[in-house]
Structure formats: C-alpha cells, structure tokens
C-alpha cells in the first residue's frame, strides 16, 4: 500500500516505465511497492484485463493467485496498524519468460458477496489457485469448472485463511507461553531477562 521513502525521493524508479505501460494498456492505477509493480483494477474487468496482459503485454506466465482478508476484527495474529476498509483483496501475479517483467493485479471484493470471474479461460494454471482461494477464503469464482476442495477434506466447514477463523491450537494454549529455552552452554551466567516479546516471562 505504501511506497518506500527512497522511491518517492529518487527521480524515477527503474520499473516506472513498465508500470506506466501496464496501466496504459489495461487501464488501472499502477504503483510500485518495493520493486513490485502493483496495478489496481476494477473487479468487473478482471478477466478482460488478464487477457490484455497476456496478449498485449506478453505476460504469458501465470505465477499465482491469492487473496488478503483485510479487517480490524481478527481472531488470530495482530490487526492491521491503521484503519482499513473491510474487504477481500484479490491478487494475481503474471509475468513474462524473457526479461523477468512481472505485475501484480489487485481488485477489491466485498465481504458480503465475494464473487469474481474465473481466470481459467485465460490462464489454465488459475484452476488450482482459485480452488485454493475458494476453500481458504470462501471466494466464489464464476465460471470455474470445479470448485471442490483442494487441500481440505470435503467435509471441512469454514474458510481457514479468513482472519475471523481461529487457530485452534492458539485457543487451547495462548501465545506467548512461558520461556522454557535453556541458555547456550557457557552463557549460564546471563540471567533470563524479560524480553519485549514476552513480558510475562
């Protein structure tokens, strides 16, 4: 979401020309975040934009597809540092197989009805990635040939990578537990000092 300070200070990022070209061809907002070209596109044109990327920009290599669950209400881990809009952020990365150019496309999905068109027609490799995103986040991919579970057993209920999904082992045993790590040989003189991660120790 943010770009590093050095990028705003220096004149032009080496990837700027490529980012501009992608934004021009597909029509979207390009930004460069830590050497990653990220282009935000409207969800309605998701498939069309990937087809343009493949045919017009030569980004024929399908790297991956996944999502990020943005919410302040998290069951595991730390919540985001600042205000966020509740949404699923869809992400795909496609690239070429000559110069190493790659671009990450992103689109926002609402939490209430996370539906997006399937990319299987454009990139065959999206099939498994979409099945994974479907079971892990509960996102529905319109036009996908078979959205059955990929990793999880068929009877599994819930979407584990949603932030609202608790990690059961954490429920049973809170984190951090007590520090039971022994000192290194020869360092026995060092007393256990309470560290920042673990104020209880």
């Amino acid at each position: 979401m943010t770009s590093s300070p050095s990028e705003t200070e220096t004149a032009v990022h080496p990837l700027q020309a490529f980012a501009d070209r992608v934004a021009e061809v597909v029509g979207g907002v390009a930004e460069i975040t830590f050497d990653t070209v990220k282009v935000k596109v409207p969800v309605e044109r998701w498939v069309e934009i990937h087809r343009q990327a493949r045919d017009d920009l030569g980004l024929v290599f399908f790297s991956w597809l996944s999502a990020v669950d943005w919410t302040l209400d998290v069951a595991v881990g730390d919540p985001p540092g600042g205000e966020v809009i509740d949404r699923f952020e869809m992400l795909t990365t496609v690239g070429d197989v000559s110069e190493g150019k790659r671009v990450t496309f992103t689109a926002d999905l609402s939490k209430e009805s996370p539906v997006i068109d399937s990319l299987v027609e454009v990139y065959a490799g999206a099939n498994w990635h979409e099945r994974e995103a479907a079971e892990m986040f509960g996102i529905r991919f319109e036009g996908h040939p078979d959205l059955s579970h990929l990793y999880l057993v068929d009877s599994f209920i819930g979407n584990p990578l949603r932030k609202s999904y608790p990690l059961l082992s954490r429920e049973v045993k809170p984190w951090p537990g007590t520090v039971d790590v022994e000192g290194m040989p020869g360092s026995a003189a060092e007393p256990d000092e309470p560290s920042e991660e673990n104020p209880e120790a």
Partner: protein
C-alpha cells in the same frame, strides 16, 4: 486319423469372434507410492493401456503454513518455510528473508550474500542429485542412485557443518546469516564465521560432483531402455507450460532460456558467469538432461563464489526485536524446483499480516491432468518422475 481331421476342420472353420473386451476401470495410484515423492493420490480412468481424466488428489501434507505464519514472528517463520520443499530446505529460506529485508530496507553484508549464494547452489546440487538418483530408479535402473546419493551426502555434510542441519538449516537471519554454534571461532566474543576448512572441502566436494555428473551421464545417457522410456514421452509445449505456471528446469526443458537468477536480484548472481541449459523437445529426457547440466553450472558458480568471496561481517545491524515496517512486496527466487516466491504483507508488527507462499511444485504438479491425458499407464510414472516435485512443496 479321422478324429484329427475333424478337429482340424473344426478349428479351421471356427472363426475367432472374441473381440478383446477392455472395460474402462478406475485406477488409483497412491497416496502411498514410491514415485509420488510424498503422499499424492492419482485417480485415473484407464481404457486398456491408456489413462484418461487423471485427477490428482492433494492435501495429505497440508500444514497450513500461510495461516501459521500469521501468528509467528519473522525469525520463527524461517523454521516453517524450510520445511516446504525439504529436499532443498535452505533455498526456501532465502526469498522469504530477502522479502523481509526489502521491507526493512536492510543492506545485507556482501560476505553474507555470498554465503547464502554458495549454500543455495549446494542445495540445488543436492536436490538435483536426488532427482538423478530417484528418476532412473523409477524407470528401473538402480545404479545411478548409489553414485548420486554418495555425492549428495558430501554436500549435506558440508551444509550441516555450517548450519547445523542437514535438511532444515534455519540459518538465515534478517540482515545476514548465522553459522552454527561452535563453528568459526571458539570463543563467543569473536565474530562467528564459517567452519575452518569449509572452502577447501567445498572445492573438493564440487570436484566430486562434477565427476559424478560425468559418471551418471555415462550410466544413464547410454542406456537404451531409459532413452526409449523418456525420449518423446510427456512433451510439454511452451504455451501450455507458461499458462499453467510451470517454472524452473521443467520450463527450460521446453526450450525457454528463462532463469530467475539472471533477472531477479535477490542474490549477487550477476557477478558470476554461468549458462542456462535448455532442452529442445520438452520431453522427459530433456527434463533429465537440463537438471544434469544445471548441476554442472551450479558447481561452476560455487567455484567462482569461493574464489571471489569478500571478507567482512556476516550480519547487518538490526534491532533485537524484529519489526517489519508497513508495506508489501513479492520476492521470487529460482529454486531447484522452479519459481519460489513470497508475497509478504506487513502491517508493522512482529509477524506478517499475510504471507502468500508461491511454491514451484504446486504449479508444476497442476500440469498433470493435461500432460497425462491419454498416455500409457507405465508412462505415468516416467512423466511424473521427470517433473521432479516434492509433495511438501505442493501442499505447504
């Protein structure tokens, strides 16, 4: 001899009306099968000797690392990620650490980068040697295994002498590397470094690897049965490979000279002279040949890196408690199996907000329904083996 004549007449008049009945059946391979490199199940519809509608069933080894890393701190996550592709555990750590360093804008000392590079190439050699061992075995040739595993053990011993672990080194730190306790200087006050004699032994081991590559080539490339089993089998066209996201040696065997070591700058590969071996036909044979050639190239890189390794510290100055500033990035690396990448989303905490793990074998395996359509049943094993996947890398 009347009876015999009757019999002869009877036999000559009897027309063979039995047509070979080949009812379709469902063939189940795995999950426990030596050629599945872990636990993979294939369900295929078999008509005679040919397989159709192959349906891979994965997830037997799904360990949920993406979820787990949301509750772990950055230094703890290297322990998780080197269990993804355990055959080259060291190489998995590098892109993750580089992603975190990128967000923290830490400059890693050059010596540490060289050490990372040397160990990554050693991991590549040991991973490819496993392939050199297991692939002929799956085709029925047991001998190359002994040659390959002997040299792999040498590599793993060296990795262990530096990192303390054969498979799970957990060696990279944000900002540098951390040799095992006891290596380098004996007193803890002095800067730790690689164990004494490491470079000399590595040079020696690399020489052995180059030797065994020649031996394996003689053993396998001159074997007519292996040639018959692999040449022209499982041809993978470039367009199909890229659209499925097949990467690494499998893509290069189809004739694409694309290697992330040349285009991404996660380690100083631009300082070394090495070639990208490519295949011509994209068949099983080319996939075998490309990996053999890559062993030789990795050996070359290691030799050059040992010659040119600079002196200096192994660790940049970083805070005691690692907190990665807000930001997101995707860092990918050329791992032995292909493109391994991490999309890291940090919100300024001690652990990632989200860590997407892009593993090479996952995309490489997703080609199976396409590439196994209509092949002979014995070729299933030949083709699967040539893709060189590890189920830990598929299931994450």
């Amino acid at each position: 001899m009347v009876a015999d004549q009757d019999l002869v007449r009877h036999l000559s008049e009897a027309s063979v009306s039995v047509s070979l009945e080949t009812p379709e059946m469902t063939l189940n391979i795995g999950p426990q099968h030596p050629s599945t490199h872990g636990v993979l199940r294939l369900v295929a519809r078999v008509d005679g000797e040919r397989a159709y509608d192959v349906h891979p069933v994965i997830g037997y080894m799904h360990r949920g690392y993406e979820k787990l890393s949301e509750v772990r701190t950055y230094p703890q996550i290297t322990t998780l990620v080197n269990r993804i592709d355990w055959v080259s555990g060291y190489a998995n750590e590098v892109p993750f650490i580089v992603a975190a360093e990128k967000l923290m804008q830490v400059e890693v000392p050059e010596r540490a980068q060289y050490i990372r590079l040397i160990l990554t190439e050693m991991a590549r050699i040991s991973s490819h040697l496993i392939f050199m061992a297991s692939y002929p075995l799956e085709l029925g040739a047991a001998t190359p295994l002994f040659f390959a595993l002997r040299e792999r053990e040498r590599m793993l011993d060296l990795l262990e002498s530096v990192t303390g672990g054969r498979f799970h080194p957990n060696f990279n730190r944000i900002g540098g590397v951390k040799p095992a306790y006891g290596s380098g200087s004996q007193t803890r006050k002095v800067l730790q470094d690689l164990p004494a004699g490491f470079f000399a032994e590595t040079r020696d081991a690399v020489g052995h690897v180059l030797g065994v590559a020649d031996e394996i080539e003689t053993l396998v490339a001159g074997n007519e049965i292996i040639l018959a089993r692999t040449k022209g089998i499982g041809v993978l066209p470039v367009e199909i490979a890229t659209s499925f996201g097949v990467s690494g040696p499998n893509l290069r065997a189809s004739g694409v000279p694309f290697d992330l070591r040349k285009v991404e700058h996660y380690l100083p590969y631009d300082k070394f002279d090495f070639e990208i071996p490519i295949g011509e036909n994209g068949d099983c044979w080319d996939r075998w040949w490309v990996r053999l050639a890559e062993i030789r190239q990795s050996a070359r890189i290691i030799q050059q890196a040992i010659d040119g390794i600079p002196s200096g510290p192994l660790q940049a100055k970083v805070p005691k408690v690692i907190k990665v500033p807000k930001g997101e990035t995707y860092v990918r690396a050329e791992n032995p199996k292909g493109e391994m990448g991490y999309y890291l989303v940090s919100e300024g905490g001690q652990g990632p907000y989200r860590l997407k793990i892009r593993s090479a074998s996952f995309s490489n395996l997703s080609i199976l329904p396409w590439i196994l359509e209509g092949v002979l049943v014995p070729d299933i094993i030949a083709i699967m083996g040539s893709l060189d996947f590890v189920l830990g890398d598929v299931d994450r």
